[in-house]
């Protein structure tokens, strides 16, 4: 379901009530979907805090309930389990990151190396904007176990699709078909270790290296180095 960027609510909810409802004393009646959406987002926000603080395995539903400041029953109205709640957070965060990176690539009017640089820059900015949530998804995601596998594969595949635009350049057509997935996978695990160890403190310091490694197979070391040094 596509959400309205301005409000964070799906369009049919963001559009407001279709018919007049009786006003409550002290305020307007909110549509039940809006209330439910707000509650769900409140739980996801609380879950992000709890997972960041305790890690996936050590976090219980009680921790999420406490961090969300909701009643336990409310949690189960929205999620069947801790895992389901984690996936809601994971899906939301990864979709937003993918959209932001895709937009940065699209908006860059320059050549492929600069577009890749813009995309990686946007990814690192996203991580820096909320490192705790990034750590929850990147580091704690694989700790969920086999249930994360399909999502992980999709995440790598979606980012690889963005990078695949570079394969239009003739020389790279001789490369293995999965080279983009491998490059994106490498970026993922480099970020994993950086977030796990909390080094570097500013993720944007990784930009030149990530840009260079991502580009070398497609444009050669010299052009990759130049793109890494730019921006």
């Amino acid at each position: 379901m596509r959400e309205s960027r301005a409000s964070g609510y799906p369009p049919e909810m963001a559009a407001g009530p279709r018919q007049r409802r009786p006003a409550r004393p002290g305020g307007h009646a909110l549509r039940p979907e809006v209330v439910a959406h707000h509650k769900r987002q409140q739980i996801i926000g609380g879950a992000a805090k709890a997972f960041a603080e305790r890690g996936y395995r050590q976090t219980s539903v009680a921790d999420i309930v406490k961090a969300s400041r909701i009643a336990r029953g409310s949690f189960y109205e929205h999620f069947g389990s801790k895992e389901e709640c984690f996936f809601a957070l994971y899906d939301e965060v990864t979709a937003a990151a993918l959209e932001r990176v895709g937009r940065a690539c699209e908006q860059s009017v320059e050549e492929f190396p600069e577009r890749v640089g813009a995309g990686i820059g946007a990814l690192l900015e996203t991580i820096e904007a909320d490192p705790d949530v990034a750590r929850v998804c990147v580091v704690e995601g694989p700790a969920v176990g086999p249930a994360i596998t399909a999502r992980f594969e999709k995440l790598i595949g979606d980012f690889a699709e963005l990078l695949r635009a570079g394969r239009k350049d003739g020389a790279s057509s001789e490369f293995p078909a999965t080279v983009e997935e491998t490059v994106v996978g490498g970026v993922y695990w480099l970020l994993y270790y950086a977030l796990l160890e909390g080094r570097p403190k500013k993720m944007s310091r990784l930009r030149p290296q990530l840009v260079e490694f991502s580009l070398i197979p497609f444009v050669g070391a010299e052009a990759a180095g130049a793109a890494a040094a730019a921006g």
Partner: protein
Amino acid sequence: MSGPEAYLAEFAERGFREGDEPRFRETWEFLERAYFARLALATESMGGWRDRFHAAAQETARLVEAFPRAARFLIVDAIAAGQVGSECRGLLVSRLVASIDTARRELAEPDAVPEVTAGWIVAIFFDRIYRRLTSDSGPDLPSQLPELMFLAISAYFGTEAGLEELIRER
């Protein structure tokens, strides 16, 4: 069954539990020693870095396919083992990075490649092994080696050298 072998079987069955730390560490150290001993054997007659790396990568791929339970313990399940898993993996990664980064000695300008090049190579191999072990389908690891070697060699010695490796592997 020895201590580490018994724990591997148990671990595969029920995952990591609190109180497992000493047995987890013992098993990890046993497997890591065995892995590096195999790498030493596979690379002992090799001269240059590229040949040694090539042999080490082949041996790693072979071991993953031959001993999936041990590989899964080291690469996949340790991620869910909390602090002790992170510590053990961190040490293994540091050891691999130090060993791979000796490639700089063969460069005219050792500082010309990024500081984290060896970390990058570990990351791309880790990714392929992780995904091989977590997805039931997909090509076996030895058949993915040409691509991995291409990316690894390119990172230190440039794309032309990487393409040579791709052709050699094919």
